[in-house]
Amino acid sequence: MISLRFPRLKFERIVVLTGADAIKISALSVVISFMVFGAFLSFEGADPLVAYEHIFSFAFDPKLGLPTTLHRGFFLIFNTLAFIIPLAAGIWNIGMEGQFYLGTIGAFAVAYSFPDLSPAALIPLMLISGAIFGAAYGALAGFLKGKMNVNEVVVTIMLNNIAFWLVYLLTVGGPWAGIAESTSRPLPENAWAPMIWDTPFTGILVIALAILVYFFLKKTTIGYQIRILGSNPIVAKHVGISAPKISVLVMAIGGAIAGLSGYHMWAGDPAFLMIPRPEAYKAIGDLTYWGIILGLICLLNPLASVPASIFIGSIIVGTTVLVRRLRLPFGLDVLFLGIISLVFAAFQFFHQYRIKRVKVVRR
């Protein structure tokens, strides 16, 4: 137990965090984030409530922002799942960015190699290739961690940076360069994701994945072993669970899912259908880090990642309206995301501790 400078308060460790508590904490974080951002809005001369109304009405308007909201939301679900699975085994996969890039490379390599294959054959092939590339990249980090206990946080961050430049190597003036020399060639039409009501089919794929992951962790024997390793590695060892094998497995699965998001991102959004300039694809790559925050908010529950990701997706899309429509200063859109990430990170405190009043007892 630790005491703050104010002697009447102390922190008490929480033994078991219930789902209900987690939802309350998340709700509180959301409210605080809205209030903080609201302050900025007021400072810039806008009415917060009006602004929020604009943001969400735009984001969820089927004719305006909804398709993109869903698209970005689905993207986040992929990357949240990619973070959740390794963390269930106690491994911090910070490498979604790199695995996403590798998945992009895997998918595009297939598309460029077999542009004339029918979509029914090409697209599954692209998905599989993306998954394999992502899985390999993840498994590399998992192997280093499981076998040699190299810190996975640092390794995955390094791998992310390497992967960014790998994509650069291929696109900017490289073998995949398009006419502009800084983006890639367009994807062949057969590679484009089929759309249902303006959303790519990969949306269904990812929701199915979320459900699958949920059952995988809860019901299968391997999922069970993963959870035991994540809860208590010593107990895991005592009952015969192999940490090195599971480490590689979870990182491979996580990497594969993040790899799938490569196809989804570029082939699933008609505005892209290619790998854009480095600044642009880096901006998307940075979005993968939201997988971490979302994973923690959802208490590692894959099903919860769906609504949470869509919510963040709506903010990503909706806040663009602030600059375009309301003529507010540039950057206000990304500011909201920034505030949310800091507030949610800080509120992780409440996942571990309660604040209690100390009754001063006189002897």
Partner: protein
Amino acid sequence: MSITEADILFKDVKKGETILEMRGITKIYPGGVVANDHIDFDLKAGEIHALLGENGAGKTTLMNILYGLLRPDEGEIYIRGRKVVFKSPLDAIRMGIGMVHQHRKLIPAHTVLENIVLGHPKVGKILNLDEIEREVRELCEQYGFKLDLHAKVWQLSAGEKQMVEIIKALYRGARILILDEPTSELTPLEIEKFLESIKVMAEKGLGIVPFVTHKLPIVLRVADRITILRRGKVVARMRREEATMLNLAKKMVGREVLFRTVRVKAKIGEPILEVRDLHALNDRGVPAIKGISFTVREGEIFGIAGVTGNGQQELAEVLMGLRKPIKGKIIFRGRDITNASILERWKLGMGYIPPEREFGAIKDFTLVENIAMNYYFDEKFVKSKLLLDYNKLRELAMKAISEFNIMAPSVDTKAGHLSGGNLQKLILARVMMRRPKLLIANLPTHGLDVGATEFVRNKLMEYKREGAAVLLISEDLDEVLSLSDTVAPIYEGRFVSILPIERVKKEEIGAMMAGAFS
């Protein structure tokens, strides 16, 4: 050397003068456990006054109070006649009390000198290591310690590490040295050196308090006085002349009524476990098992009696696959499993109850999920090779609740909500319901109340009657004697003897556990 507060306090101390008095020390833990019950203890300058007692006798609590880690509920401490109150170890250090921990409190990556100097109040901002080195070397010479001050601590042997801790305490002006199990990790040669050095320290007027649970022969060689604790009280005070191995052991272990568990005789059958010439190292790379051979048969409870730290934990770990032996063979039901994986051992029919409940159950998981830990690899409980059959597992959990008398609202309760006793029963259930042919019960009643303890013991007895082989490891001699068919006292990694229960005399076993006859 820079003057410390302790220097002033201990100015002109004469040998034989009482420098430490603890009067009426009482400490009661929440829950009512009386760890120390009005203990009086005193120490003279130049004296080695040993404190003996089993685990749970109250030594650690008393030691922590003396060192400032705990506050007593009643009682006072006087140093050279002056009443002192310690709010933290730093207060105790300032007053001249130094402690050498059993598990070294040193930083392995730093050098000896750096460890000695860390946090010393009189060391200046800039480390003038030459000056300090000179002073420390003088100190080492004074007490006959040979240390390479620039070696990194991780390179040192256990004995050298202990020397570093002693010098560290002395450099901070310690006049009273508390030694926690000082010889438990030393080789025989290091033990000799150590005994020499504490004699020298006593010569120079320091007061030394070694706390020991065993290694009686060693204590007898150097202690001037011996105080024995049992159940939180002082039960004997002796001078060296009066003490013998046997009467010390008797006082430590006490004359106790055996528990009501009735020993049942079962038909002894085939050998299930054969261990041949087993050798293994502990975590520090020091030999912990030095050639153990024995056999456990169907229908037999083989009890290993010993104080913690003599190799029993390592033995259990090697048998279960948690630790690799460096020599020897383990044969289970006729099969050489020396190199088998942990999972294989479970599958082949071995079962292990770990010594700490934290190693055996996950608090966040429900009862069902905890039971599943021993069934996830069992085809009968896995549907279509992939899915855990939770229905069958729930049935199993309900059976566990009734057979093992576990007080829990339902099988979906989280294990963290169970009391210690019920948690232990859960672990027992999970392991025993698989009917392992060999059950290794490692400290199975550790920390349990009387009711749970009796339940566990009866269960073990029942299990043996069904024809299983049970290997029991326990620190409670009464428990070993009341349950076992064969008793093997363990001391420093070897079995002192292996005796059938009929030929066992309690005091003899107690003495063997403590080092006699070895």
